[in-house]
């Protein structure tokens, strides 16, 4: 056996705790070499033992394990989120043929277009009204479910989560059939009761209403589940103390429930605002931005410019337009959340 190997193996066999010199027996043909080199090998082995034990310690640290376990996710996010995000920023600063850097030229061009300003306005109407109604409906239903007897809660929670669980493209298609311009199921029911038909998708204002309605239907369960979780975490003693002080239901809601839920409300609203501003499926499937461009949101407008018209840089610029505004909003909202968190802590 080569000496170096022998020296290396010994500490491992002892687990790096106690190194016992090993003396080869006489007559062993491998012994002569081994005996001569044993002492220096042992020192090296001790040094190695120490390095190994440090490495071992490092690997066994909770933060290292946590990092290693998060690594695959971080790699996925880096390759599928961070890289495309930076690439789209880069793309938005190129000319149409993607051969020349034009700085903020695409953004300047968009700001000079009437249709783009209409898209900004519609996106704001779409996102703000949809998030408001989602939060409002989510809050009310969360309270209703929270006040149900524990036995029936699970059933209601499950049923109300269905819209959020169905793939959005599929449910949007279902809604499109209900609103179908010529054969709308809703209109069929209205007609059966003697009412006039409603131009759900052919009138621009009704079309706006329809896409917002579908977004609220889809997104409200997310708020419901988040608010329900927040409600469950409010200590019962606070309500009991308030009851002893003579507080009514509204006062309990305003002075206990809402302050205790402020952080979760802020985070859900922020998250939903970002997602709703970036919505594509609902509008694309139901109206494709029409009639008269009056239901376009950033994503559908970007699709029209980038994919249908073949101007990817302009499409990228359009889709990035809300990024700085939402980023600033996120900073302020999250700062508020941290501040309140410290106060509570």
């Amino acid at each position: 056996m080569p000496a170096a190997l022998a020296g290396m193996r010994e500490p491992e066999q002892t687990g790096g705790i106690a190194v016992k010199p090993y003396r080869w027996q006489a007559g062993d043909s491998r012994m002569a070499d081994t005996v001569h080199t044993w002492v220096p090998d042992l020192q090296r082995a001790r040094a190695k033992t120490s390095t190994r034990s440090k490495l071992d310690k490092f690997i066994r640290q909770r933060s290292t394990i946590a990092f290693l376990m998060c690594l695959p996710l971080m790699l996925i996010i880096a390759s599928l989120v961070i890289y495309p995000a930076f690439y789209s920023i880069y793309l938005s600063m190129l000319n149409k043929a993607q051969t020349r850097f034009i700085g903020l030229g695409n953004f300047r061009f968009l700001l000079s277009r009437d249709v783009f300003w209409m898209v900004v306005q519609q996106s704001a109407i779409f996102a703000l009204s949809a998030v408001f109604f989602k939060a409002f409906i989510g809050l009310i239903t969360a309270h209703l479910i929270n006040n149900l007897p524990a036995k029936g809660q699970r059933k209601w929670r499950g049923m109300l989560l269905v819209p959020w669980v169905i793939p959005l493209a599929l449910s949007s298609l279902g809604w499109w059939w209900l609103f179908d311009p010529t054969h709308s199921a809703f209109n069929w029911i209205l007609a059966a009761f003697g009412f006039n038909e409603i131009p759900w998708l052919s009138d621009p204002y009704w079309a706006r209403f329809s896409v917002i309605l579908v977004n609220v239907w889809y997104g409200a369960p997310f708020f419901l589940i988040m608010y329900l979780a927040a409600l469950k975490s409010v200590p019962e003693q606070l309500y009991e103390a308030a009851a002893i002080d003579g507080a009514n239901a509204w006062q309990k809601f305003v002075h206990i429930t809402l302050p205790m839920m402020r952080n979760i409300i802020a985070i859900t609203v922020l998250f939903s605002l970002i997602v709703t501003f970036a919505n594509f499926d609902i509008v694309q499937i139901m109206t494709a931005g029409g009639p008269r461009n009056m239901t376009h949101v950033f994503a559908t407008y970007a699709f029209m410019l980038g994919i249908r018209s073949g101007d990817l840089p302009l499409g990228a610029a359009s889709s990035l337009f809300m990024f700085p505004i939402l980023a600033i909003a996120a900073v302020f909202i999250l700062r508020g959340v941290r501040k309140r968190g410290r106060e509570i802590g």
Binding site: A97, A288, N293, I307, G310
Partner: protein
């Protein structure tokens, strides 16, 4: 006898070396001697039509020892355009890709010149469609070969029984299934004025015509053809915005009357809306390829029996029909360009075109007028001869919304549906005529950035 002992390591090494040698050795003969070709093709609406293209490609592949693989990609949700955009960005993908409408222009820098193929096809078949030339011949170089598969025009598709009963207009007599029997005195009467008169009567009778006014191609194409027949020009070849004209005003005033007798939902229709309208039996006419008639044959045969395809009405500047050709483009990053060109030439031959037209019941339309004598259009039915006048007949010419602006600009006009949005603002939004034209001028100015 002596034995040589072979260790496990030596055996593995020898096996590995043998494998490498086998892989890297020159390939002598065999089925795939000339390599392989991959195609990303438009997924046909007509059931079974893809099979004919696959068969033609496989036959060519077997003859030339090339392995051909076709992926059929739907245009539903613009998936074909998304695929082309992704391949263009990545610089890898299929060898040949089919491109709809303006996509040749969009990817022009990554497409191989195909002048040699086009020159040969023109030599064989005569003049090529001017719309195809406008879309695929860029700076004097052809970057795409017009396909038969999926290429189409959108003429009138009318219920001849209702036109007869309600308007006293005999469309079958006016446009019989034999061009030589066209009577100019009769066909000249088929004008936009007569169309409006009929539309009003049909609306009164409870069977309105259904002309889409959304932002998808069926709407953009018929409005483009209508504007051309009225002499409306959005932007000319010299980048001059020409929308503010008497022709535009006259055309918009006409459309105000015509849209009033259309169902109100036409503003929300996608490309399937008008098909459903005629198939349902509620409508008396649309402007479409025969796909809706083909579906009606299956779903509502009584309606299908009464549908007749015929040329568009004539306007002050002529009779025009919207054409929407498709093209095969050969990516510059293709590894087998000569084989690809050979295949494209093969599937563009008259015998191949005839099979493709037959497989699609006449839906697919080649870009050479000399091929419009193929028997399919005369034979299919019921009623027999209904699709005869689907290809250009008589004095009908093709149009492309966005033309004659240079095609980079035209692509923006077309894809942003500036023509239908302008009409919708006036007819549905009741905006003032001058305001609508001003809006269009502003939008057109934006397209010149291209």
């Amino acid at each position: 006898m002596s034995y040589t002992r072979v260790s496990r390591r030596t055996a593995l090494k020898t096996a590995a070396l043998s494998s490498v040698a086998a892989i890297t050795a020159p390939y002598i003969s065999g089925v795939y001697a000339a390599g392989s070709l991959t195609l990303g093709c438009w997924d046909h609406w007509v059931p079974g039509a893809n099979n004919t293209l696959t068969k033609l490609c496989n036959e060519w592949g077997e003859k030339n020892k090339v392995q051909v693989h076709i992926d059929y990609i739907t245009s539903q949700g613009e998936k074909d355009k998304l695929t082309a955009a992704a391949e263009a960005q990545a610089g890898t993908g299929h060898d040949i890709m089919s491109h709809r409408d303006w996509n040749i222009r969009i990817h022009e820098n990554l497409l191989e010149p195909l002048d040699d193929i086009i020159a040969q096809l023109i030599k064989q078949n005569g003049p090529i469609s001017p719309v195809a030339e406008y879309l695929a011949k860029i700076k004097g170089t052809w970057r795409g070969v017009p396909t038969t598969v999926g290429s189409q025009v959108k003429p009138c598709q009318s219920r001849f029984d209702l036109y007869n009963e309600q308007c006293g207009v005999d469309l079958v007599d006016m446009f019989p299934a034999d061009e030589s029997k066209y009577d100019k005195a009769k066909t000249d009467k088929w004008t936009w004025d007569l169309y409006l008169d009929c539309a009003q009567k049909l609306h009164k009778a409870g069977y309105p015509v259904g002309l889409p006014m959304g932002q998808t191609s069926d709407a953009v194409d018929w409005v483009g053809a209508f504007f051309k027949s009225y002499g409306v020009v959005f932007i000319d070849e010299k980048d001059q915005i020409r929308i503010n004209s008497d022709e535009t005003r006259k055309a918009l005033e006409y459309l105000k009357k015509l849209m009033a007798v259309n169902p109100p939902e036409v503003y929300a229709w996608d490309d399937a809306g008008n098909n459903r309208w005629i198939i349902s039996g509620k409508g008396s006419g649309i402007m479409n390829p025969p796909s809706s008639w083909a579906v009606a044959k299956r779903d509502n045969p009584k309606v299908a029996e009464k549908i007749w395809h015929h040329p568009m009405p004539k306007g002050p500047k002529g009779r025009f029909v919207g054409q929407l050709p498709q093209f095969y483009g050969l990516w510059s990053f293709s590894k087998n360009k000569s084989a690809a060109k050979d295949l494209l030439l093969s599937i563009s031959q008259r015998t191949s075109v005839a099979q493709l037209v037959e497989a699609s019941f006449g839906y697919d339309l080649p870009s050479f007028k000399s091929l419009y004598d193929l028997p399919t259009w005369k034979q299919v039915g019921p009623p027999v001869g209904t699709t005869y006048s689907y290809p250009l007949r008589g004095d009908e010419e093709t149009s492309m919304a966005g033309a004659p602006a240079r095609s980079e600009v035209g692509a923006q006009i077309y894809n942003q549906a500036i023509n239908t949005v302008m009409v919708s603002k006036f007819t549905q939004g009741n905006e003032k005529l001058d305001d609508v034209i001003k809006w269009a001028e502003n939008e057109l100015e934006g397209t010149l950035r291209a």
